[in-house]
């Protein structure tokens, strides 16, 4: 059994701590099951299931720390692992940025576990794949997809009395459908904590429609266009920006949030005033982890409010040095949007381009958060509120900071990659060249 209860996990952690001779000891215990099924050319290519239960022990002497990991849980093995962590710690160099472990914390209790996901069987995975492959085979389309489900727990504890436990499930599904002549391709992606919200058939139907509608694509000239970015397209750019909100990098002068002449751009209005991004572990659509890896509680945090940068992430060391609250990196984030559907946004667009997703996104300039990448699996020209015809894929060179200043409209947020993101209508989005790829 690799999913331990809170009590079982606490018992093991307490046992480990009882063996400690170190100044300080922290323990992380995690385990679970991961299952997957992969298919291509309308046939299952690989599928598997793996189980894991592992314990990581960190011992501290002064400013020296050492970590050992183990996956055996009898008393003798646990004690051996404690001694090994202590031995590694004694030999380690001093860490001038060492921060002592946290004492007991209060954690929220997000609804991140679903029994239905925990109950997924190999047969369930096979039928989920069949529901996706079968409609494609019948229409002479080719399906390639992947589903991965995870059921697991995380427990942390230390010699100062901190203890935390969380149990969570998740399922990720993505599907690419291609036409037999290779001229059309469509895509859909879903992720949930509760697998009963996932219909591989419905997601596949969207990918099928996009594949069939994207053949005979026409070439448009590269340039600046009004775009409607589906959440699967905007998520990577937004996520990259959210991951660049580290205060230390900004203070050190090597971030898009560093100020000319020194200082940071906290409190500055950097985006359109309708941009609001926050994180909340208790959100019912994207329930997150109650704690960060080092034991800091996850709370509701506003990162961008009415276009103004409200918070940056801090390591505990840097926060202490700066005398501010040590806000950890969030799990997912929520970008507030409107009430309109994607269809409504299209209806309200005179001329524009609908983007299903972006691909191969890479940083070009960290100073301006300029990224490059390409459209893929369903790019369409919109005229007078209607999708007119499919277009060839474009390469873009754009910064999420510029993009969120050129905001025209937002739709209703949907879950994507563990975050909630609205479809975005953006003006002057920069496409720099054409791609022949389908």
């Amino acid at each position: 059994m690799t999913i331990l209860t809170k009590e079982e996990a606490k018992k093991i952690i307490d046992k480990v701590l009882s063996f400690s001779k170190a100044d300080e000891m922290s323990v992380a215990l995690s385990g679970g099951r991961t299952g997957n099924i992969r298919y291509a050319r309308n046939s299952v290519s690989t599928s598997g299931e793996s189980y894991n239960l592992s314990l990581s022990i960190t011992a501290v002497f002064g400013k020296r720390s050492g970590t050992s990991t183990i996956n055996e849980f009898d008393d003798k093995s646990l004690e051996k692992a404690v001694r090994r962590a202590e031995e590694i710690a004694r030999l380690a160099p001093e860490n001038p940025e060492f921060v002592p472990a946290l004492g007991p914390q209060q954690y929220v209790d997000p609804a991140s576990f679903s029994q239905k996901t925990a109950d997924i069987s190999p047969d369930y995975r096979a039928s989920a794949a069949f529901d996706s492959i079968d409609p494609c085979s019948k229409k002479n389309l080719t399906a390639a997809g992947y589903m991965e489900d995870r059921t697991g727990f995380n427990a942390i504890g230390n010699s100062k009395g901190l203890f935390g436990y969380n149990k969570a499930t998740s399922v990720d599904f993505s599907i690419t459908v291609r036409t037999a002549d290779g001229l059309g391709s469509g895509y859909a992606i879903r992720d949930f904590n509760d697998v009963s919200k996932l219909s591989t058939k419905q997601a596949t139907e969207i990918a099928m429609q996009k594949a069939m509608a994207s053949t005979s694509a026409r070439a448009l000239e590269p340039g600046k266009y009004t775009v409607i970015l589906e959440p699967a397209a905007s998520i990577d750019l937004l996520q990259n920006m959210m991951r660049s909100m580290d205060a230390r990098n900004a203070d050190e002068g090597r971030s898009f949030l560093s100020k000319k002449g020194g200082g940071i751009r906290l409190g500055e209005k950097l985006f359109d005033e309708r941009v609001n991004i926050y994180s909340d572990p208790m959100n019912l659509e994207i329930p997150g982890s109650p704690f960060a890896g080092d034991g800091r509680p996850q709370e509701k945090v506003y990162w961008i409010e009415n276009g103004v940068v409200k918070n940056l992430t801090y390591s505990r060391y840097w926060a202490e040095k700066k005398g501010v609250k040590a806000v950890p990196n969030p799990g997912g984030f929520i970008m507030a949007g409107g009430t309109e559907s994607l269809a409504d946004l299209i209806k309200g667009t005179e001329k524009g381009i609908l983007v299903t997703r972006f691909w191969y996104i890479r940083a070009v300039d960290p100073q301006t958060l300029l990224y490059t990448g390409l459209t893929r699996d369903g790019t369409f020209y919109i005229e007078n509120g209607q999708i007119k015809y499919p277009i060839k894929n474009f390469r873009f060179n754009e910064s999420p900071v510029i993009m969120l200043n050129n905001l025209e409209a937002m739709g209703k947020p949907t879950r994507i990659g563990g975050s909630l993101v609205p479809p975005l209508k953006i003006r002057d989005f920069t496409f720099s060249s054409l791609s022949d790829a389908v």
């Binding site: 090597r254 300039d365 022949d436």
Partner: protein
């Protein structure tokens, strides 16, 4: 049992360097001295392997291979005068792959006992039988004659794992100190060491024991102009190698003198010297002229061109991609079978000869046998500019009408199933005597690019955009100074057909990718790409400078 942790590198400067956004750590964390030695002896491994082969056969498998693997990793992370982390990890277990009812089945276990292995073999057969119900065509496996009991080892002078951790820390502290002394505001430096101790056995009658070593030293230097609110970085121009710690000897005989005092490194790297160059060059980048967009002749250093070869030749010629097995993730390929069948598809100009190989000394892809027991070899992918072959493994090569696998099957751990991975893919050097200085003399309007920068390519490998670490403008046959904000965009076939000149073998060096990602769930692999400095005419250069 599976343990796969990731060290997040955001904010550490290395994020953009990796195929993956995080560095994978496999297995349990152990003390450094635990990484010395070879673990279980060969006779015991053979006995355990036979348990798997017999157990699978008795359950109905028509083919079985078993890999008993001990995978060792040591990673060091530092910044300025601090050691951030030293990770020593060991992963040990068995992966068993079978064919039953004409279908693959795979299972893996960390229980390396006769009982654990027999049970694992049984599971692999049951998975094969279950999947055979929805299998459309049975697996066609290219024949492979058993090679008997053999062994292979990376030719090493100094086993990296036997070098004390303190010596490695001292080197990195020296690298960081010199960078800071020479104008860096910040520096991160890292050492990555990998040792794969792999035992392979199959029902073909092969028992192969291999000891594979890899090394990657690297750093990122940052220079800052606070007043202007600007920062610039310069990454190491080292290459990951299939070598021991001797790669860090910094031998003068392995240095290649370039124009303007620039230095390239062949099979020996001077990390401290490169850090000093990096600090000075990062500072120079702060005031470098922003490039004027337009068409330029590009002179590409091997330490830059390697990644362009990787993305625009290596990946599109993976046969599983061409067939559609990666359609939902990495994508498919423009280099379709019908193009190959014409025997006249001009991938590049007549100068372009690109070879796949797993035998070249000091490279990341080189081993004696691949992960399905096939002896490794060299073969042509592009000959005189024409597409002539792909990369294929035992269950694909029949599609090409060939009877022998190319020997490029790989799994990143004992608990990962082996599949087709890129061998070393390299551009052959030019036949005529030519060095970089002479090549530059012939360029009227050009840019000389060194080092790995931002890179992006579409899912069928037509349109790409590449940046670099260092850019020098060439005017009338001479280097006119450093420029910045450079990226070039092209189309694979157009780009390789614009190849106009290649330096000779004396300029030849390898570039490497240490954590190349592929598959779902994703697996990493390490691969080298050799080339000499090469000229491409009339390539579209864009300016990447922006204001926010």
């Amino acid at each position: 049992m599976r343990r796969r942790d990731f060290i997040q590198l955001s904010g550490m400067g290395l994020g953009a360097l990796m195929g993956a956004s995080a560095i994978p750590v496999l297995g349990n964390v152990v003390p450094a001295e635990h990484l010395i030695g070879s673990g279980v002896d060969v006779a015991t491994k053979k006995r355990l392997a036979d348990v798997a082969l017999n157990a699978a056969k008795s359950k109905g498998a028509t083919y079985t291979d078993v890999r008993i693997g001990r995978y060792l990793q040591q990673y060091l992370f530092t910044r300025e005068n601090k050691v951030q982390n030293v990770v020593n990890a060991e992963s040990y277990g068995v992966g068993i792959r079978v064919i039953a009812n004409g279908t693959w089945g795979f299972s893996a276990t960390s229980d390396v006992t006769p009982e654990g292995i027999a049970k694992c073999a049984e599971t692999a057969v049951s998975i094969a039988k279950a999947n055979s119900k929805i299998q459309k065509e049975p697996v066609v496996l290219a024949p492979q004659k058993g090679v008997g009991e053999v062994s292979w080892k990376t030719p090493l002078k100094k086993n990296s794992f036997e070098v004390p951790v303190q010596e490695k820390i001292d080197l990195l502290m020296n690298v960081n100190g010199e960078a800071m002394k020479n104008g860096a505001a910040f520096v991160t430096s890292n050492l990555f060491f990998i040792n794969e101790q792999k035992y392979f056995a199959s029902t073909d009658g092969s028992y192969i024991d291999q000891d594979v070593h890899r090394i990657w030293p690297t750093f990122t230097v940052t220079a800052i102009d606070k007043q202007a609110g600007k920062f610039k970085t310069r990454d190491a121009i080292s290459s990951p190698m299939g070598m021991g710690y001797e790669y860090l000897d910094g031998l003068a005989s392995e240095k290649i003198a370039g124009p303007n005092g620039l230095v390239g490194y062949r099979n020996s790297y001077d990390m401290v010297e490169d850090a000093i160059f990096a600090a000075k060059q990062a500072k120079e980048k702060l005031t470098a002229k922003s490039v004027m967009a337009g068409k330029y002749d590009l002179v590409l250093d091997p330490n830059h061109l390697g990644l362009t070869i990787h993305e625009s030749v290596g990946h599109p010629l993976e046969l599983d991609r061409v067939l559609g097995y990666e359609a939902n993730y990495a994508g498919t390929s423009f280099a379709t079978l019908d193009k190959w069948k014409t025997k006249s598809f001009n991938y590049g100009s007549k100068l372009v000869n690109i070879v796949a190989d797993k035998t070249q000394p000091y490279t990341l892809g080189t081993v004696g046998y691949d992960d399905e027991g096939v002896p490794c070899k060299e073969w042509d992918l592009i000959k005189d500019g024409v597409l002539v072959n792909y990369q294929a493994i035992r269950d694909q090569v029949n599609i090409l009408g060939e009877k022998e696998s190319h020997g490029c099957c790989y799994a990143d751990n004992w608990d990962s199933v082996q599949f087709q991975r890129m061998p070393n893919v390299s551009l052959r050097p030019g036949k005529e005597k030519l060095n970089v200085q002479d090549m530059i003399k012939g360029v009227e309007k050009g840019i000389y690019i060194i080092g790995r920068g931002s890179y992006s390519i579409d899912q069928q490998r037509y349109n790409f955009q590449f940046g670099g670490q260092l850019f020098y403008e060439i005017k009338n046959g001479q280097i006119a100074g450093m420029v910045d904000d450079v990226a070039y965009q092209s189309n694979t076939q157009e780009f390789w057909n614009s190849c106009a000149q290649i330096c000779d073998k004396d300029d030849y060096r390898t570039f490497g990718s240490f954590f190349d990602g592929k598959g779902q769930p994703s697996q990493v692999s390490a691969v080298s790409h050799g080339s000499a400095t090469t000229r491409f005419n009339g390539v579209n250069v864009i300016n990447t400078g922006r204001k926010i």
